[in-house]
Symmetry: C2
Subunit: 487 residues, 2 copies
């Protein structure tokens, strides 16, 4: 009995200690999150463009991971930082992708829609094929770690998903040509969808090696994923728009209900697509684009302000957390020299592949466009330069680590992708302002944009003030009436 009691006490002590370690590590993560926000703000305030918020988060992660590496507790720390994939795919990635769709500027995006589609669809396909083939050839000639042909193509497709965050933040702060801004933003948003669809199509071949590798099968499978997921997102967004137009929820007393329902819709589209066996990420992306344009206008004004802030808050929390995590991961992962070679050559290859995407596509587009609207060479160079890799590439690499049966190959792909994300965010992100100034694309439309914004806010203020004046009158009258009745 006494022995049983002792055993029990020991087991429960271990459980309590484990619980405490979990609490401490989550505490550390929150502190890092808060610190990253403050640091990012300080850097922005002092106009220090060489280290952006994302880069700062990455560095914080790397430093804390390095300290954890040196200390003895590394194992227990690492176990808790190694967060589970479900959390990443269900709670971190969807808000980030939704927000990128929700934030799209409507007018310049749609006036460059053709060009963006060429870059995002044809260009991304070309880039991922070029990367895949180069990586395969590199492995064949003993230049780097050898992957099979299908694995190389998988890697090529997942590494072709670019991330807009850092470059666009600097674009916004320095001011740049609206068309260039729309091209970079639109391309990096849509090519995520393309990369996922390519990845899923290749994965199907992997899982079903008995199928014949015919071109038509691949195309139909690709279209099924892409169009199906896009359709899901579009349908959900339109339902949302109809609901908020006709349900009369924009009354003041229903503010809470309105916000709750609006916030649930994107997640609904994500889950619906996943439940149908399609890509939830593509669905939530298009849902975001359409909800902004059709449903958002039907909300009441306080609900608009609230939901805009809500989506931004959630996505920036998720994104900062993600960059911190990537930093931690790169610092605590065990690395071998074969990885270093693979990483080096991969970076060279993706730079070449991005060139093979941007310049030929721009040439094609310029053939069709009138002289006044041709894409100038400096914009093409800026577009080539802004190919950072971020959350999406990381997410797909995480998935490939789970999907691929050969463990070491999956790990090589994952480690390489993480390293590429870190390198591109730190170096490309850090040199963007220099690059923009070198290419002389800074400040073109800055003054115009600025005036436009202040006009807009002026209009909003006037509208709001008049609304409040009316409200005020109503309330004063009802107040006086009640007082009079009471007397």
């Amino acid at each position: 009995m006494a022995q049983h009691g002792e055993e029990l006490a020991m087991a429960s002590e271990a459980a309590i200690e484990q619980h405490q370690v979990a609490g401490l590590s989550l505490l550390l993560q929150i502190v890092m999150l808060g610190f990253a926000f403050v640091l990012g703000h300080v850097l922005r305030r002092h106009k220090f463009y060489y280290l952006h918020e994302a880069s700062a988060s990455l560095l914080i992660g790397i430093i804390v991971g390095g300290i954890a590496n040196v200390s003895n507790k590394e194992m227990s720390f690492k176990r808790w930082f190694n967060f589970n994939e479900e959390f990443f795919f269900l709670f971190l990635l969807p808000p980030i992708i939704f927000q990128s769709g929700f934030n799209l500027y409507a007018k310049p995006f749609f006036s460059n829609f053709g060009a963006i589609c060429v870059f995002a669809i044809v260009g991304t396909f070309v880039a991922s094929m070029v990367t895949g083939i180069l990586v395969f050839l590199g492995g064949l000639f003993f230049l780097m770690y050898k992957l099979s042909f299908l694995e190389s193509l998988l890697f090529g497709s997942l590494i072709s998903a670019t991330d807009p965050v850092t470059v666009l933040a600097i674009f916004q702060e320095l001011g740049t040509d609206m068309n260039l801004y729309a091209l970079v933003f639109g391309e990096s948003v849509l090519n995520d969808a393309m990369a996922i669809a390519l990845y899923k199509t290749l994965m199907k071949f992997w899982h079903d090696p008995s199928a014949n590798y015919s071109f038509t099968v691949a195309v139909s499978s690709f279209l099924q994923t892409f169009v199906g997921s896009m359709g899901t997102g579009v349908v959900v967004a339109l339902c949302c728009a109809l609901l908020f137009k006709y349900a009369g929820l924009s009354v003041n007393s229903l503010h809470n209900l309105e916000c709750c329902l609006f916030v649930l819709f994107p997640y609904f589209s994500f889950m619906l697509a996943e439940g149908l066996g399609l890509s939830g990420i593509i669905a939530i992306l298009f849902c975001g684009i359409l909800m902004k344009h059709y449903a958002f206008q039907n909300l009441s004004e306080p609900a608009q302000a609230f939901t805009r802030g809500f989506f931004q808050l959630i996505s920036s929390l998720a994104e900062t957390f993600l960059f911190i995590y990537m930093g931690l991961d790169i610092a605590t992962e065990s690395h071998t020299w074969s990885h270093v070679g693979f990483i080096f050559f991969s970076i060279v290859f993706i730079l070449a592949a991005r060139a093979a995407n941007v310049f030929p596509c721009a040439y094609l587009i310029n053939l069709i466009r009138p002289v006044a609207r041709k894409i100038p060479l400096k914009h093409q160079k800026a577009l080539w330069f802004s190919g950072l890799r971020g959350a999406m590439a990381f997410g797909l690499a995480l998935q490939s680590k789970r999907d691929l049966p050969t463990k070491s190959n999956g790990e090589t792909i994952f480690t390489t992708t993480t390293a590429i994300v870190v390198v591109t965010v730190l170096f490309i992100g850090g040199s963007t302002s220099t690059m923009l100034e070198k290419l002389e694309v800074v400040g073109d439309d800055y003054a115009a944009l600025n005036v436009e914004v202040s006009c807009l806010s002026l209009f909003r203020l006037e509208e709001r003030a008049s609304f409040m004046r009316r409200l005020e009158t109503t309330i004063i009258w009802s107040f006086i009436a009640r007082q009079a009745r009471d007397i």
Copy 2:
């Protein structure tokens, strides 16, 4: 090779199917969540007080669980609804508890502070001891399933945590005496903290049976948990208040940073307390009370509006989800007749225990209070009646299921608690409006409260309008100046 391919295909198909089932079940949960919100709104709009939002969520859960029970897929459904505890303790419970502290009305709460403390601390202690001893005696005399003495006390302490949601929502809509409102709200908020501290103290005895059961050890252990956790929450909230007072974050351009940091603080207090081996829930509760009174005023006005909405949105999502889950659980759990007996007698015992809490404590308070401020008998009856059980009792029962080594005893406690939550929410929640009318405590201060609120909003509006007028002038001038410079 072909066989290997087939195996691979089968395994991956199973994985894909599992993934799809997970997606579908999450989809179903989102649909239920949205449906519960809409149903709750419709019920409130038609002033149907017999079925509140919480009850509606419970019923939706029970119905869907019942359908899943009948259909063949029950097993796979059940597996996915059986959500993990980490999710509950880390993401569902903290926002609910924080919001209950954050929402406390300051003035009536502090003017009744003494009475609330007597009910919450002395009263809850008495109630949990009475329940525990009655349950133990019931088991001893073969009236119900037999629990050990310590288990009975554990059950008594966890079932003493009452939930304010439903009753208070109806109080708010019908209008009632402010003092009664403050008593019910304050008591149900603070007794959560008391129940947790009692539970943790008893758990320590359980884990360390070699310790001698001296009274002083118990008291010091209890004080350690209670005061330590409270102190953590208070210190974090005061740090937050100081930061927002002196960091100058209430500038317009820092809106996002301000909100992000403010939202992280409650969670920080929760994690800090957990990391220190204390109770995160008690910490986040007091953090909420103090953040509302000291830190909230230091935010800029748009940030105030946003964070208020944010906390409300998150907590109502968590709460609705929780009630749906409890409904699902009660419908899909396997029940035996021994449970039914235990549930029936437990309900009788907790009613008796609550009477042993409310009436003697009120007698003591009335001995001290002046004649004008004595608690009238009808308020005592209303207080006795409002003892619903909710999220906190459910959470502690979930934890006891994990903590107790005898599996069947833990399951009995868990099932009984879930059933008590369902019964009290459905029946007490449904009959609250009738009860309030019978006791003639409806509408006392309603008119006064109403006028006060409109005065308040009038003041706010005037203030806001004048601020906007000033802003307007500034913007117009800077606009004109820029135009002039451009010309």
